[in-house]
């Protein structure tokens, strides 16, 4: 020790002291950062690492009744660029040059946009195709991140757009079936907190908290893509031919309530969907289910059924039509053609569609009985088809302060009240199927990882006796097939039906409609057609009935219903 101590010069001591002070300072700083400020930095780390994300299983498909997909989800990628990785100009140019052509953007624009972006990762493109995504994975440009996502694909293109509806960017159904059956299709999203690395990816062994998503399933509709396409084409042609403002067609199985096709106009096309256009939001609802209209003379079948069901009249019962019906506290009611037919049978009442006859029937029934049948046919509730936004009928009831006897009179022939097309076709179905009011439905089956649920036809209630139904089928057959020159007649099939011509209360717009079914012996198909504001003729018999005549044989033969050799064929020259 003696030898070494003499070498310990003050200069060496100074150096040792300097290093000691430095070391002590670092230990002090470490204590400060790691012990005193630990909570602060731990919180900062958590804020930086923990990332909340909503995770979903891929959305289920929407299929037609035979399993053909109408809407499916295909893999896609959202493309992000981390501007920090593009700080170096050479890297940035190379990255932009690789990325831009795949995204179909200009390299210069992309570069400027990325470098100008300051809030984390720049979303360069949303939902690029899986093909483009795989190309990017292969090329792996610096700073480019791909986030797997799903994009809705429509194999049948714009078929049933307004019924299917659409989903938002957050994968939540916003309209139509997509909205009404959002949970069935999309499942329950999971909310996951995970630790992510500086590039935004989960850290391999990092903690992962939260709830896992529950998968949704596929929905098989009652809709038939062939019938749907026929109906959409017919409706579009009719709206154009009659320069109408819109319209609806529904095709249903009257025995089950299953809807085979539903179309309405005005509508939108999925291929031209632009959610940024707020003006367009009115187009997104399935109008045949959500919008009401005055059903007009089609309602006379309901009034007639009520009177027959009560045993008040039979098809042969007569009344005297003098062309006008006096109403307490109102203008007298006239027939649509201002005619007077004298002594008239009940069948003729429907054939000539006499308003005075409907008023006569409603008086015979009485107020209470008439509104009881309105209730029995389901007009006072939504039909509960499962689609959202379904209203009850808009009408005044005797219990309302503003109800007057004139309301009973006008309601009897379908004015002064408004119902949805789905209401009307459901009610007439009960008339022709043996008297049972069915709940209309659009979904046949939901199947997914959690199981399979089939929807069975639901009888809401018996509306009229079976015999009443049989009688009405015969009377409605007489209305069409028994009226020479009726435009609702169908080549090869016996049919029944009733036209309607009405006027919206709040506008001068007329509605031409027709409800028809076939074959008469055992109705398998019922169709409601309504055209809003036709310019050439307001009459249901002129505008709507021919559409039925054209559609019915195509649908019936597609459904495998054999022609039943109607009188029309036999009479044909």
């Amino acid at each position: 020790m003696a030898r070494s101590s003499h070498r310990l010069t003050w200069r060496l001591l100074f150096l040792i002291l300097l290093l000691l002070v430095g070391m002590a300072g670092l230990v002090a700083r470490l204590v400060h950062v790691q012990v005193i400020d630990h909570e602060y930095y731990a919180a900062q780390a958590a804020e930086e690492h923990l990332h909340r994300t909503v995770v979903r299983e891929p959305r289920g498909a929407i299929l037609d009744r035979n399993g053909y997909p109408l809407a499916t989800t295909t893999a896609a990628f959202d493309v992000y660029v981390d501007p920090r990785s593009w700080a170096d100009p050479a890297t940035a140019f190379a990255g932009a040059a690789t990325l831009a052509p795949i995204l179909g953007r200009g390299a210069g624009d992309l570069l400027d946009a990325v470098l100008a972006f300051e809030n984390g990762d720049y979303l360069a493109a949303r939902a690029v195709s899986a093909y483009a995504g795989l190309q990017l994975l292969e090329l792996a440009p610096v700073g480019v991140k791909l986030v797997e996502t799903g994009v809705r694909a429509y194999p049948e293109s714009d078929l049933a757009s307004s019924l299917l509806g659409f989903i938002g960017l957050d994968q939540v159904g916003l309209a139509g079936i997509e909205a009404a059956f959002d949970i069935e299709l999309g499942g329950v999203p999971g909310e996951v907190y995970f630790e992510r690395d500086g590039l935004g990816n989960p850290i391999p062994f990092g903690s992962r908290l939260g709830t896992e998503p529950v998968a949704g399933g596929d929905i098989r509709l009652t809709i038939d893509r062939y019938v749907q396409r026929l109906v959409e084409r017919s409706l579009a042609e009719a709206v154009e031919r009659h320069e109408a403002t819109g319209g609806s067609i529904i095709v249903m199985n009257p025995n089950t309530g299953a809807v085979l096709a539903v179309a309405s106009q005005p509508a939108y096309l999925l291929s031209e969907l632009d959610l940024t256009d707020e003006e367009d939001t009115g187009r997104y609802r399935p109008r045949a289910v959500t919008d009401v209209y005055p059903p007009g003379s089609v309602m006379k079948t309901i009034t007639m059924a009520a009177a027959i069901d009560r045993g008040l009249v039979t098809p042969g019962t007569t009344y005297v039509d003098n062309g006008r019906a006096e109403v307490e506290g109102g203008e007298p009611i006239l027939n649509w053609d201002f005619s007077a037919h004298g002594t008239t049978t009940m069948t003729e009442l429907l054939q000539f569609s006499l308003n005075t006859g409907a008023v006569w029937l409603s008086r015979l029934l009485g107020t209470d009985a008439f509104y009881e049948y309105i209730d029995r046919f389901g007009f006072r509730q939504p039909t509960n088809s499962g689609l959202g936004g379904e209203p009850s009928a808009l009408m005044r009831l005797p219990s309302d302060d503003d109800w007057y006897p004139v309301d009973l009179a006008t309601n009897s022939y379908g004015q002064g009240l408004s119902v949805t097309p789905l209401h009307m076709i459901t009610a007439v179905s009960a008339l022709v199927n043996g008297g049972l009011l069915m709940r209309p439905y659009l979904v046949e089956e939901v199947s997914g990882p959690v199981g399979r649920r089939a929807y069975e036809p639901v009888v809401v209630r018996r509306a009229v006796a079976e015999q009443t139904s049989r009688t009405l089928v015969q009377m409605m057959n007489a209305v069409v097939d028994g009226t020479p020159g009726h435009l609702g007649q169908v080549a090869g099939y016996s049919v029944g039906g009733k036209t309607g011509t009405s006027t919206f209360a709040d506008s001068a717009e007329t509605v031409a409609s027709f409800v028809g079914f076939a074959p008469v012996a055992d109705p398998q198909m019922i169709v409601l057609i309504k055209i809003d504001g036709p310019q050439d003729s307001p009459l249901g018999g002129v505008v709507a009935a021919p559409i039925f005549s054209e559609l019915a044989p195509q649908i019936l033969s597609y459904l495998g219903v054999s022609p039943d050799g109607s009188a029309l064929i036999e009479r044909a020259p």
Binding site: L12, G22, V31, H38
Partner: protein, 384 residues
């Protein structure tokens, strides 16, 4: 003892390099072991050099020191030549040798320490002279530091200057001359900071990282978040989160932050204590050195390690502004590790061929070198 400490640091360093680099290895090279394999290869080279150098008497270094210096300068010039030097991250610091690449500046550190130690120990009477001591010293260090600055590598230049100035000081330089050196150093630092925005940014980040947490302050704050979130006991070996692309250079200059995050205050202070112990043992070698050349060599090597460790940890803990200096033995960087291990070999040689308290008996009985120890004592007296 020194050998044990160094091997402990070496093993810890390899574990840390693996822990902090596997994510980057997978991302960039699809190989988690990419960095640790290279580091391991260099470690083998370094340990071989260390074992070789410790066996020989360090005295031969005095003779070859001008040659070493020449090779170092050629290397530093060559690295600046496009085509020979490799550019990475905007700096030209690397020369590749087949699959490996190395930094000539790491070799230059060792060469300059040997050269300056040899020069100072041979010129004991001129050290205080302006023309024969100060001027040649400034020119010598200035040329090497200047070349390193051209790469640019401010951190390495700083370590070079600090270490050699310390040797100048220990060898007995005039305090007036040292004051002038401090003045020159301060002015050059100001000049360097003002002429390059990235250097100025470091100062801005040091003073106000929170004002721009995603930009200038990002690096500083990410290091502190790593260190601070480790707490006293750390998140556990391998459990750093910040190494996943938050800390820039988590396996190189930032490795100490990963250490602090994974092993906590206990690990961080523990490693500093290992360094402190190594430095303490280093000064024992200085005090027991046979001659002034050995004493200065040992001092230079200790200062090199100590300064780098202090500046690196100081920057990470935000005690001083950040400079891009790797942590000795722990940071990824093969040529730096090999150069350090070679230096440790020289330190061990100085220790082995000493006449100090522990080894004097062995020296006397073994090789009978007592006359040289007397010479060394005389040197020290002269220096005082």
């Amino acid at each position: 003892m020194i050998l044990g400490l160094v091997l402990a640091l070496l093993v810890l360093g390899l574990l840390l390099v693996y822990s902090s680099s596997f994510a980057l290895g997978i991302l960039a090279f699809d190989n988690a072991n990419y960095f640790v394999m290279r580091q391991g290869l260099w470690a083998v080279v370094g340990v071989a050099a260390m074992l070789a150098l410790m066996r020989f008497d360090y005295d031969w270094l005095r003779a070859v020191s001008p040659l070493l210096m020449l090779v170092a300068i050629i290397g530093l010039v060559a690295v600046l030549v496009p085509g020979i030097g490799l550019e990475r991250n905007g700096a030209q610091r690397w020369i590749s040798f087949g699959p490996l690449s190395g930094q000539p500046s790491e070799f230059a550190k060792l060469a300059l320490i040997i050269y300056v130690a040899a020069w100072l120990s041979g010129k004991e009477t001129y050290v205080k002279s302006f023309a024969l001591g100060f001027v040649p010293f400034v020119l010598m260090v200035g040329v090497v530091a200047g070349l390193v600055l051209l790469e640019p590598d401010t951190g390495t230049a700083a370590v070079l200057v600090l270490t050699t100035v310390t040797l100048f000081f220990i060898a007995g330089a005039s305090l007036t001359h040292l004051a002038a050196l401090v003045g020159i150093g301060s002015i050059s630092s100001m000049f360097l900071i003002l002429t390059a925005s990235y250097r100025a940014d470091r100062i801005v980040a040091f003073l106000g990282a929170e004002d721009d947490p995603t930009g200038i302050g990002f690096h500083t704050l990410q290091l502190l978040i790593g260190l601070g979130s480790g707490g006293i006991t750390g998140l556990g070996p391998g459990a750093s989160r910040q190494k996943f692309f938050y800390i820039p250079g988590s396996h190189t200059d930032g490795v100490f932050a990963v250490l602090g995050e994974e092993l906590g205050l206990i690990g961080a202070v523990g490693v500093l204590m290992l360094f402190a112990f190594l430095i303490y043992r280093g000064f024992r070698v200085v005090l027991g050195a046979r001659d002034e050349f050995g004493a200065l060599l040992a001092t230079g090597i200790i200062c090199w390690i100590a300064y780098q460790a202090l500046i690196n940890v100081g920057g990470i803990t935000r005690a001083i502004p950040m400079t891009g200096i790797p942590m000795p033995f722990l940071s990824y960087g093969g040529s730096a590790l090999a150069a350090l291990l070679a230096a440790i070999g020289i330190l061990l040689s100085v220790s082995k061929h000493a006449t100090g308290p522990r080894s004097v008996e062995r020296e006397r009985s073994g090789r009978g070198r007592s006359p040289t120890s007397g010479q060394a004592r005389g040197v020290q007296r002269g220096a005082r």
